[in-house]
């Protein structure tokens, strides 16, 4: 096995991303779909931090610096905000329709 480098981290993040998408499109339960969204955000975060750690801009030899870390922080905060609103919405749906199965919620269509 080769030494762990940038690509290894990218593989992990890609797998997380794919599984997030998979959860979003296949799981009926709305909360499961939200979990899928969290997975995608995590995978992007891994990317940001990995690039930050391994990256090199090439021109003047500057490292990427800590920007990636900071972006990851922002995304985490945003994820929290989004989760709060999403959960509220799901609870509201449960209250009005007595179900959180997304596939049953299809009254609006052509």
């Amino acid at each position: 096995m080769m030494e762990v480098g940038l690509n290894h981290f990218l593989v992990v993040s890609t797998l997380l991303f794919s599984m997030g998408i998979y959860a979003i499109v296949t799981r009926k339960n709305a909360i499961m779909v939200l979990m899928g969204v969290e997975l995608i955000l995590n995978s992007a975060n891994i990317n940001f931090i990995a690039f930050s750690q391994f990256g090199n801009r090439g021109i003047d030899g500057n490292l990427f610096g800590l920007h990636g870390h900071l972006i990851a922080l922002f995304v985490i905060v945003l994820a929290a905000a989004e989760a709060a609103i999403a959960l509220a919405i799901v609870l509201n749906i449960y209250k009005t329709l007595s179900t959180v199965n997304i596939d049953e919620i299809d009254n609006l269509k052509d």
Binding site: V4, I49, S52
Partner: protein, 164 residues
């Protein structure tokens, strides 16, 4: 293979395998718990990447906040007395094909890219440095995040509160 590599594979396996269970397990409560392990794994990867502060935030916010929220959601939308906290799936075949193709092309592209990478530097404490750029370069983004949180608060409250 040094210790760093072993630890990486451990965390990577933890992350990916538990994520796999998250998306495939039929029981939502189990899924939620597997999500906990995924978050732990990701936090571990952050540490490996020298992002100590982010790893801590990941644990506090994700594990301590978001996951709890999700669990609340699970419990509030399913009757506790109902043993069958299970959910079905739809779109399996198109999803498998689509996600498979997507993963394939992503991996092929990302691995074959010539990143401008250098060997990872030795980890340093990042907290102080992060604080500096957060409040200097990224001051505007920081303020914007404040507004986002305020809006999230108002929005969530607006949806959740009882109608008068």
């Amino acid at each position: 293979m040094n210790v760093y590599d072993i630890v990486f594979y451990l965390f990577a396996a933890l992350t990916v395998i538990s994520a796999f269970f998250v998306v495939t397990n039929r029981n939502i409560v189990y899924s939620a718990f597997f999500l906990l392990f995924t978050f732990f794994g990701v936090a571990g990867i952050y540490v490996l990447l020298g992002a100590d502060f982010v790893a801590i935030v990941q644990l506090i916010v994700y594990v301590g906040g978001i996951l709890i929220l999700l669990l609340f959601g699970v419990m509030l939308t399913n009757k506790i007395t109902n043993v069958e906290i299970k959910t079905g799936t739809i779109n399996i075949y198109p999803a498998v094909i689509g996600v498979g193709l997507l993963t394939g092309s992503l991996l092929a592209a990302l691995i074959n890219t010539s990143w401008r990478s250098v060997p990872a530097s030795a980890p340093q404490a990042t907290t102080a440095a992060l604080g500096t750029i957060l409040l200097q370069e990224y001051a505007l983004v920081f303020e914007l995040l404040g507004i986002i949180l305020l809006i999230a608060l108002i929005g969530a409250a607006s949806i959740a509160r009882r109608e008068a």
